[in-house]
Every structure is written in structure tokens, then in C-alpha cells.
């Protein structure tokens, strides 16, 4: 599926849009980390929880469950929720 990478994480991908595969959000993030080592830990902590300021949107809907099933035609947008100065 197509994945939109936010600017703070493009040092890993070098591109705004990348391709990643998986049957769940967790699997897609794992595939991203396989392609771009280190990127997952910046978004998901060691307890497998989404980091506080990282949000995932699938086809425009916010997703909070890493085990959510995904289809290859879905579009995943990763968003940085900026706050503070």
C-alpha cells in the first residue's frame, strides 16, 4: 500500500510516498522498518504503543489499533502532531 511519510521521518525514506506491505498496521510498520531500519522505533515505543505525538490515518480515518486489518489498496498517512516550541 501507499504510505505517506511525514517530513521528520523522510531522512529515513528520502521520499514522501513509499510502498509497504502487511495485513495489519503493525505488519506495515514492520515492513517499513525492514526497508528503512530504525523508523519504527521513532513512532512505536518498546512496549508496542504509539508514541504520543504520532498519529496514523487509514483512508482518512484515525487509527489507534496496531492490529487493525489493512488491504493493499488502503492508503496510510503517518502524521506528526506538532506541539510546543
Amino acid at each position: 500500500m501507499k504510505v505517506l511519510i511525514p517530513t521528520p521521518l523522510r531522512s529515513y525514506t528520502q521520499h514522501a510516498w513509499v510502498e509497504a506491505g502487511g495485513a495489519t498496521l503493525a505488519e506495515v510498520l514492520k515492513d517499513l522498518d525492514r526497508q528503512y531500519p530504525g523508523i519504527r522505533f521513532r513512532m512505536i515505543n518498546e512496549q508496542d504503543q504509539m508514541r504520543r505525538h504520532v498519529r496514523f490515518f487509514v483512508n482518512g480515518d484515525a487509527v489507534f489499533d496496531l492490529l487493525l486489518p489493512l488491504k493493499p489498496t488502503d492508503e496510510l498517512c503517518i502524521v506528526q502532531a506538532l506541539s510546543g516550541g
Binding site: P8, G38, E46, Q47, H53, V54, Q80, S83
Partner: protein
């Protein structure tokens, strides 16, 4: 000339060391600056008079510590995160021209029951013993101790303390720690024995291991806590910065939330040497550095610890204080520093000392100014300003 030096060496090792320092080939100075918005490398000439700023590196990243490995003189490690992404460690072997990210940054073990902790940021980096090349230790927030055996590329929890129930109790909660999270810091390796380690926790006291981390024990006797609390409870202790004297590894100094201390091993009771500071200034602060060749000499940068604890320069008049007799007396060193209306805060990692003779001292303020002295603190000069909030300053030398 050579004969005279040899004779001096036999009669007076300190004089000999000074003479040797003067005759060594000139080395370039390097000051590593970690800030809330990135890192800078300040390259100095041999005389430490002109400086070239190289940076920002990792603009927008919160960099808590930037350290050069003295064992190879070229490996740099940076503890970084952004305000919105998880923490990581970057490594460079070409003084920041290129950086390589850790493939496995410090991270706690996953707990099946959901009670596990998550590293918010790596706070402190310490190269291990000279006989353990590529080994590094890291302290994190919340308090965790980690080790890398491959120059900072992969990290693993070190020792048992990260998950030990007693240590977890001593670490307290996030609310017990410093405003941006409780921290494990001041990881110190005895140069005589790689298995002899110390670390400090804010909060959670000072701890020592004699067996390479298999066991640790608190080392808090003599340390005071905030009024009304029980000093026998490890949780309440808040060492801000612990230093070991390179010339005498049996002597430790400490700037604590509650005073300045010295400890001479094998004794295990800290002595509050800050009692000898002027009453109007007090002995509260964050940072402390020690002389590379004289275990009686140490410097502090006092912060106002009265009433609501502003932790700014007392009376708006910043000064470094030095002791040259192990803490019996202290002397004010403020020549060149602002004489009024300078409400500085200097954090625990933001002061450093080089190994020159005379010694160079460096510190950075949270208002983004870098100051230095080429003469042990007798005179001060600002050599960079308008930087972001400075978290850490480390002096190093390049061949």
C-alpha cells in the same frame, strides 16, 4: 633540558606533568555542544583563542549529550530525539560529516503485562574503560542503564537495575523526577578497574558496583535531602552531577540538589563541603567539574536555591566558584562575567574542563551563550551566543 625535566619528574610529579603539557605539540581544541534544538562542534585553534562553529547538526532534534571517545579520538556519539519522535543515538567517525544511526537504540525490555517502561530520551553517554574499546554506557530518562559493545550501534539493558523491584521503587515516579523526566546520569568507570562503576539518579541517589554491574549498592550516607524528608530513603536523594578525580579515582565530588559533597574512598560517607560556600550564594546548583591533575581543585556554578528555588545565578550575578583544598574554602571567579542582571541557568552537563595547563573551563547557559576561561577560571570570555538552550558542553582535544 631533557635531564632537568627528568630530575623534576623524580622530585615533583605535578611540576613534571605541567612541564610536559607545555612541551607537547599543540593540539586543536574541540568543544561539543548539545542543545534543545541541535548540536554544534566548536573547533578551536591550539591556543584556544579563535573558534569555528560547525553546525547545526540534527537541527530541531533535542540533543542531550554529545561525546567524543577519548580512546580513539574520532568516534562521536549523540543522544538525540525530536519532540515528537522516539529517542535514538547517532554515531560519527568523521567529526560529524556523516552520521550513522543506531540500529537498536536504548530501549527497555518489553513487559508482557503492559507494565513496561519506555525510554523517553537517552540523557547521558559515557565511554567505557580504556581497555574496553567500542564499549559505551548510556543513562536514560526515565532511569535506565544501557550498554553498547559495538561503538553505539546496538544497545541492550545493562545490569539488573532497570527491572529490579527495589531499584524501581528507588527510581520513584515520573512526577518525582526533574521537569523533563527523571534521569540516570554520571556513569563513571574507575580507570583502574572496569568492573568498578558508579552512577547517579535524579531521583534515586548514587550507586556503586564492584563486580561489573552484577550488583549495585546505594552510596548515600552523608547526603542530605529536602527538609522534612527522611534521608535514609534512597528515593529522596537527588544527586545532580557526580565526578571522579582523574588524578585520584578514590576521590569523588558531587553537586547535589541539597549541597556540594566530597567522598574519599574507601570511606562511604559524603562530606558536605558546600557548607564553606558564602551564605549569600549557597551551595545549590547542577554542574561540577574537577581538575584533571589536582584532586583538591574543583569548580561549581552556584544556582539560587532560596524560597521557590529559581535555580538562576544568585542575585543575577553569575560566578564560578573554585576550591583548591578539597572543599575547605571556596573562591569567587567572575572576572569577565556579567556583573549584574544575568539570570543564568547552567545545567548539570553544561560545564566541562580540558586537560591543558593552565586548565581551560567551558560552560553553556540555557540562554544559549558559551563561555570559557583559558586560565582555570581567573578570566572569562564569551565565545558564542544566540544558540538554543544549551544542555551539555564537553571539551575534547584533537591531535
Amino acid at each position: 633540558m631533557v635531564r632537568r625535566t627528568t630530575k623534576a619528574s623524580a622530585q615533583n610529579p605535578k611540576r613534571s606533568a605541567r612541564a610536559a603539557a607545555r612541551t607537547k605539540p599543540a593540539r586543536r581544541a574541540l568543544v561539543l555542544v548539545a542543545t534543545r534544538k541541535g548540536a554544534w562542534l566548536f573547533h578551536g585553534d591550539a591556543a584556544r583563542r579563535t573558534w569555528r562553529a560547525d553546525g547545526p547538526h540534527f537541527l530541531g532534534h533535542i540533543v542531550n549529550h554529545l561525546v567524543l571517545d577519548p580512546r580513539d579520538g574520532r568516534t562521536l556519539l549523540a543522544a538525540a530525539k525530536t519532540g515528537h519522535l522516539g529517542p535514538t543515538v547517532f554515531c560519527s567517525t568523521d567529526f560529524g560529516r556523516t552520521w550513522k544511526e543506531a540500529t537498536k537504540p536504548p530501549a527497555f525490555a518489553k513487559a508482557a503485562d503492559g507494565s513496561g517502561r519506555s525510554v523517553d530520551h537517552t540523557f547521558w553517554l559515557t565511554p567505557a574503560h580504556a581497555n574496553e574499546p567500542n564499549v559505551w554506557y548510556a543513562g536514560t530518562s526515565p532511569q535506565g542503564l544501557f550498554r553498547s559493545d559495538d561503538g553505539g550501534i546496538t544497545w541492550a539493558p545493562f545490569s539488573y537495575i532497570n527491572d529490579d523491584p527495589t531499584y524501581r521503587e528507588w527510581m520513584g515516579t515520573v512526577q518525582d523526577g526533574t521537569p523533563d523526566g527523571p534521569k540516570l546520569h554520571s556513569i563513571i568507570i574507575d580507570p583502574r578497574d572496569p568492573k568498578h562503576l558508579y552512577f547517579g539518579m535524579s531521583g534515586g541517589g548514587v550507586h556503586e558496583s564492584l563486580d561489573g554491574g552484577k550488583t549495585f549498592a546505594p552510596l548515600i550516607k552523608g547526603m542530605q535531602v529536602v527538609e522534612g524528608f527522611d534521608a535514609s530513603v534512597v528515593t529522596f536523594h537527588d544527586p545532580h552531577c557526580v565526578r571522579m578525580c582523574p588524578s585520584n579515582p578514590d576521590r569523588l565530588y558531587q553537586q547535589n540538589h541539597c549541597g556540594i559533597y566530597r567522598l574519599d574512598r574507601p570511606d562511604n560517607e559524603w562530606v558536605r563541603i558546600g557548607r564553606a560556600m558564602p551564605k549569600k550564594v549557597g551551595d545549590i546548583g547542577f554542574t561540577m567539574v574537577v581538575h584533571p591533575r589536582d584532586d583538591n581543585t574543583a569548580w561549581v556554578l552556584p544556582m539560587d536555591g532560596q524560597t521557590v528555588w529559581p535555580r538562576t545565578s544568585p542575585d543575577g550575578k553569575p560566578s564560578v566558584y573554585v576550591t583548591r583544598n578539597g572543599g575547605k574554602t571556596w573562591h569567587r571567579l567572575d572576572a569577565g562575567l556579567p556583573q549584574q542582571q544575568a539570570w543564568w541557568t547552567i545545567k548539570r552537563q553544561a560545564m566541562s574542563v580540558d586537560a591543558r595547563d593552565p586548565v581551560g573551563l567551558y560552560f553553556g547557559t540555557t540562554s544559549g551563550e558559551l563561555w570559557m576561561s583559558r586560565d582555570g577560571g581567573a578570566k572569562w570570555a564569551c565565545f558564542a551566543r544566540n544558540l538554543p538552550e544549551i544542555y551539555a558542553v564537553e571539551a575534547a582535544e584533537l591531535a
